[in-house]
Subunit: 328 residues, 2 copies
């Protein structure tokens, strides 16, 4: 059998980041998915009720891509009491022409964090005002920071406002981003304050109680919601989608089941009014057409993104001679 490449988190962190090539790799998959050319089964889920855990498996084949990623994500919510992170996972990459295992990517969730942040930048690139300068980020976790760092690749940002339930975490992230990106950054005490005057807002929390409502919107705002990926999660009140001029989702069917479209459709939003990000990228659907529109994009995450980032990471690692080769 051909050799297999084993990559650990440090290899992957050295190989891929939030650059233009990575962003282009993520951008390229959406039109393939929207055109129905990907083979992407529903998420497989194994429940482990005794340990408040679950294992999810995502995968996608994209015609023309050299690899097929199979991603296994674990979420075990008693782990912190054992000194372990709640979330973990890894990806396997298989040759798309032969099915032969190419690589094991022990990324501990790094590649998922990365592709999610890059997707936020892709959405903003296609939907936010070209002159957007002010970003509000809701949440202060790893993904909140990554979303802002990815956005500087597509817009010339000068101000960041962070809102988080834990005020100290919000302040720490604001300080970190100010130092790192050379922007003005501050934490605010309310969601409404954070959104006031923002050109782009990104919601990054696992909440089940929506905290963005239509009253907080203003002309020209673009909102990307990345937190909701399960039946019970919701960041945007249903009236946000009803009030928006343009509603976009990475996958409309998945968003209607697991994302922000779920509650909105229940409240009367017509899913035929939503368009897929792939259609906007391909030029088959209009995105923002005037500076004053309110645009919303819901990202629930897809196996296609995993395949895109994993194939790029393997290519980069092979070029740089990173990782361990294993004869299987």
């Amino acid at each position: 059998m051909p050799d297999l490449t084993v990559l650990v988190e440090s290899d992957l962190r050295a190989a891929v980041g939030l650059g233009a090539e990575e962003r282009a790799a993520i951008e390229a998959v959406y039109p393939v998915v929207t055109a129905g050319r990907a083979s992407m089964p529903p998420i497989m889920r194994i429940d482990v009720p005794e340990h408040r855990g679950e294992i999810d498996v995502k995968s996608a084949y994209l015609p023309g891509w050299p690899g097929i990623a199979v991603k296994v994500s674990a979420g075990f919510f008693d782990n912190p009491s054992r000194g372990l992170p709640s979330l973990g996972g890894l990806m396997m990459l298989f040759d798309s022409e032969t099915g032969v295992p190419q690589a094991a990517l022990f990324d501990n969730g790094f590649l998922t964090d990365l592709r999610t942040a890059l997707a936020g930048a892709v959405a903003a690139d296609h939907l936010a005002r070209p002159d957007a300068r002010r970003v509000a980020v809701l949440g202060a976790g790893v993904q909140a920071g990554l979303q802002v760092r990815a956005l500087v690749g597509v817009r010339d940002l000068d101000q960041v406002v962070v809102w988080a339930r834990r005020a100290d975490a919000g302040r720490a992230l604001a300080d970190e981003l100010a130092d790192e990106l050379g922007v003005t950054a501050e934490a605010t005490g309310t969601v409404a304050d954070a959104l006031h005057g923002a050109d782009i807002a990104v919601t990054t929390t696992p909440t089940t109680e929506p905290f963005v409502v239509a009253d907080m919107l203003h002309p020209g705002l673009h909102v990307t919601a990345v937190g909701s990926d399960a039946e019970q999660k919701q960041e945007l009140a249903a009236d946000v989608l009803l009030a928006a001029d343009v509603v976009v989702a990475d996958r409309i069917d998945q968003s209607t089941r697991l994302g922000e479209l779920r509650a909105a459709v229940a409240a009367g939003f017509d899913p035929d009014e939503a368009v897929e990000l792939g259609a906007v990228i391909a030029g088959d659907a209009p995105g923002r057409t005037t500076p004053d529109q309110v645009t919303v994009c819901d990202l629930t995450g897809t196996g296609a993104q995993d395949t895109a980032i994993a194939t790029l990471a393997l290519q980069r690692c092979r070029e740089a001679g990173r990782g361990t080769t294993l004869a299987t």
Copy 2:
């Protein structure tokens, strides 16, 4: 993060085989599955039509087992023209209490072959006559040989008859088994000849045209069908199940969809007449109650078996210091 163990096929072949402990490990999972205590989602399938390929993912959580296997199987049918096997795959093992990756098992399908053969022995142990001595094996591939080798662990065999479409392969397997097991072994030209006088018959082919019919049955025969695991596959004509006194399946719902129960139910067999192997093992359903009954067991394969064999293989490899340790 805790270290991860990387095991390749040679490690696994040195660690686990067709012994009593392995058989007991496989036997133990069926009552758990039948009792509904396993978390075992439907098989996930990624189609790769451009390369006549597919990738299947199976998994199961069994309460009390230390690991959860996620198995990825690849079948790419243009591979032989590239000098590669059509079938391949690997398993990942996750800690069932924390979800942390424990091991990558690059087994190239060896563990699947093994657990399938062990399941055949478990079925025969519970359903064949205690004095069974003569085995007919239909097919001459890897699984055909393994089924016979596993059966010697549960019955005192003295005669093996092989039938295969490729007569030379049938003769070669018969010679191999005669040498290895010290039994009389021969190849026959017809399925009816192979079954004539057999106490146990095992069908191991991927055929879509059933080759065992009710006329070939005789009192006291036990038949195990391991080949069918997809909608189009079928080894036993529907009248075989209608004629049998006892019909058993590893999972009735899966067998009705992908196994021998599919065609039988379409032909009028009442699925309520079938019992699960787990119920027989647990003593909740009778198996064979008289020496003259005809018994049939359909095995379609489950993620629970993968979890059982993978956790045992990892335990054995760790005890023996096999494999490579990776800090992830």
